[in-house]
């Protein structure tokens, strides 16, 4: 199939539909709305359910119900809407049914704004909903990657009976880029054994997240954790750029990773031996490769469009063995490649330290410019 110029949100919607999406439930919110709008036209066109729910609470619980039938279902939203979905996400995790969520992140907290941001890292990667559960989190840095990861999201959700989130920021959702859409997959015909379908007479199935017996609930918790270990073993994905001889390593995901790549290239032109690690799975986090890089690199620079949420995961792996610095923009402000380049140069010029917290140093530097 040929490439076409297409908006991120529309591309993700069309990719999901082609991947065999059987039902979509959502609620309008910028900068995600084109995704819902595209499916509001396309799903009925091919005879599949589309429901604009009364709220994100409604949407995620419609997904929960439909997911209990084992069919391919999804919802999409942006930060404030995803906050509202946390209840349903926890229930879906607790019932061990597969579902896909696309979060097109915007500036926050609160109503914030509709500009691109990465402030949902913590609520998506480290829970948000109650109880011990993990979502598999995929973070695209281009429209093409968003398309590919959306298709993958359904396969992974079903393989592990686990929630999969595609975490993209508003710029991936809003940007137009050439991308190749996936071929049409036929709808699944097999019903998983655990799925409800309407069968009485002793054969009936029950799907629930309640378990009043603590030891039995703990067994369920252990099952979830073991499954997560398996996901950690099998599903880590990342992309490395110029890492072979890198003395300095930038770590960034999504749009921050993409902007960092421009900065890394510019720095390479100046002869600075710097590379980029761009995690594609934020959960499971690419710990092993980061650990290897810690052995080789002189220092790290973490770049994010938040106040350093992934930074904490990087620090957990580096464990003070090498200096880590941080550069972030927040509130919907997107960093320029030049700004990241300046940070890389600062890394090279030093002085560097493994003491203190990189966020404190960043804030101190920031107050000189922003006040």
């Amino acid at each position: 199939m040929a490439k076409e110029l297409i908006k991120g949100n529309t591309a993700v919607a069309e990719a999901a539909l082609r991947a065999g999406l059987e039902a979509y439930f959502g609620y309008p919110i910028t900068p995600q709305t084109e995704l819902l709008e595209h499916l509001s036209a396309r799903m009925p066109e091919i005879g599949r359910p589309f429901v604009q729910a009364e709220s994100e609470l409604g949407a995620i619980n419609m997904v929960y119900g439909a997911a209990c039938t084992g069919k391919r279902v999804m919802t999409s939203s942006s930060s404030p809407g995803v906050s509202l979905m946390m209840e349903g996400l926890s229930y879906i995790a607790g019932t061990e049914v597969p579902a896909v969520l696309v979060d097109v992140v915007r500036g926050g907290p609160g109503l914030g704004n509709i500009a691109p941001a990465q402030g949902d890292y913590n609520q998506i990667v480290h829970g948000g909903g109650h109880g011990d559960y993990h979502m598999l989190v995929l973070a695209p840095a281009s429209v093409q990657e968003a398309v590919d990861l959306t298709v993958l999201a359904f396969d992974l959700a079903e393989k592990y009976r686990n929630l999969v989130a595609v975490l993209m920021d508003g710029s991936i959702g809003q940007m137009m880029e050439p991308a190749e859409l996936p071929p049409f997959q036929p709808l699944k015909t097999d019903i998983p054994d655990w799925a409800v379908r309407g069968t009485g007479g002793g054969e009936n199935r029950v799907l629930t997240s309640i378990n009043l017996d603590p030891p039995a609930q703990e067994v369920m918790n252990l099952r979830l954790m073991k499954r997560w270990q398996e996901i950690e073993k099998n599903e880590v994905r990342y992309k490395g750029y110029y890492l072979e001889d890198a003395e300095y390593v930038v770590v960034g995901f999504g749009t921050a990773g993409r902007i960092s790549l421009s900065a890394v290239r510019a720095a390479r032109e100046q002869g600075i031996k710097v590379g980029l690690l761009r995690p594609i799975t934020l959960a499971p986090f690419p710990k092993d490769v980061l650990d290897e890089l810690t052995e080789k690199a002189k220092a790290f620079l973490v770049v994010e469009m938040n106040a350093g949420q992934m930074l904490e995961d990087v620090r957990l792996v580096v464990r003070g063995r090498k200096p880590v610095e941080f550069f972030g923009r927040m509130g919907g402000v997107v960093p320029y490649p030049d700004e990241v380049l300046t940070e890389i140069e600062r890394l090279v010029d030093g002085p560097l330290t493994t003491e203190g917290h990189p966020r404190d140093r960043w804030l101190a530097r920031l107050s000189e410019t922003i006040g």
Binding site: E54, G58, M62, V63, G65, T69, K71, R197, G198, N204
Partner: protein
């Protein structure tokens, strides 16, 4: 022993849709009666093997243990949304929710109004027992003015705590709802009427006529602090005047329905 040649005839049987286990409901609680009516209706319609139920959060949270049909268990108030998800992917299945008054008329008001206004083809069995049974008898959106509960210990004061919600009346104003009635479970006569209404509600769904809801006035002797008989009397004397039984919405298509 005197032998007669009158042949034995079964006049009472446990519905196939109802599991033979003992329920956890308190003596005199009408949740069990409501379960039985639903099971009888599904059996009589031949729908037992074609139904998916959605249990809610409340005393009936384990309803799925008592039915021999596929079930899912929703978050508090969200059963109509979950049922929507199921019904949309399985339009030929019978899908119903079973919800309490706290669940449906307080935390889940958005979901029930959404489902009704969309004309979602599901059936809702709504148990109004004027309190939050499961959590120990707190004030519900249905608690009567002056009624004492564990969170309105001196009686519901309408100045501070507002007025109860008349759910059937309210939902009947929505164009999307097709069949909205209120019945009661306090006497055998009313129980028979309740069963007819439940049958109609499921027939509405089976015939693709849209959203149906049966509100059932119910007893909670434990939290009302009454005997089973006393609770039935209290329902009749106190609840009926505020929650009149009746048909609040019968859409033209439903009126044509012959059962």
């Amino acid at each position: 022993m005197v032998m007669t040649d009158v042949p034995a005839k079964i006049v009472y049987e446990r519905p196939e849709a109802l599991d033979p286990r003992v329920t956890h409901y308190c003596p005199g609680c009408t949740h069990g009666v409501a379960h039985r009516l639903v099971a009888e209706v599904l059996d009589e319609m031949g729908e037992t093997g074609n139904t998916i139920g959605v249990a809610s959060v409340g005393c009936s949270v384990f309803a799925y243990n008592y039915f021999n049909i596929d079930f899912v268990e929703a978050a508090h108030g969200r059963a109509p949304a979950m049922a929507t998800g199921i019904k949309r992917v399985y339009p030929d299945r019978t899908v119903f929710t079973y919800q309490g008054d706290g669940d449906l008329a307080s935390i889940g008001m958005g979901e029930i109004v959404g489902a009704a206004s969309r004309g979602e083809g599901i059936t809702v069995i709504f148990i109004n027992n004027a309190n939050y049974g499961m959590t120990g008898g707190q004030m519900a959106p249905t608690t009567l003015p002056g009624q004492k509960t564990s969170s309105s210990p001196t009686g519901r004061d309408t100045k501070r705590q507002g007025y109860p919600i008349q759910t059937a009346e309210m939902l009947s104003t929505l164009e999307g709802s097709s069949y909205i009635v209120r019945r009661s479970l306090h006497s055998s006569r009313e129980i028979r009427r309740a069963k007819q209404a439940i049958r109609t509600a499921f027939e509405v769904q089976k015939h693709g006529l849209g959203f149906s809801l049966v509100e059932l006035l119910s007893t909670c002797p434990t939290n009302w602090g009454m005997s089973a008989a006393g609770a039935r009397d209290w329902l009749e004397e106190r609840m009926l005047p505020f929650y009149p039984l009746g048909d609040y919405k019968i859409s033209p298509a439903v009126a044509e329905l012959k059962i």
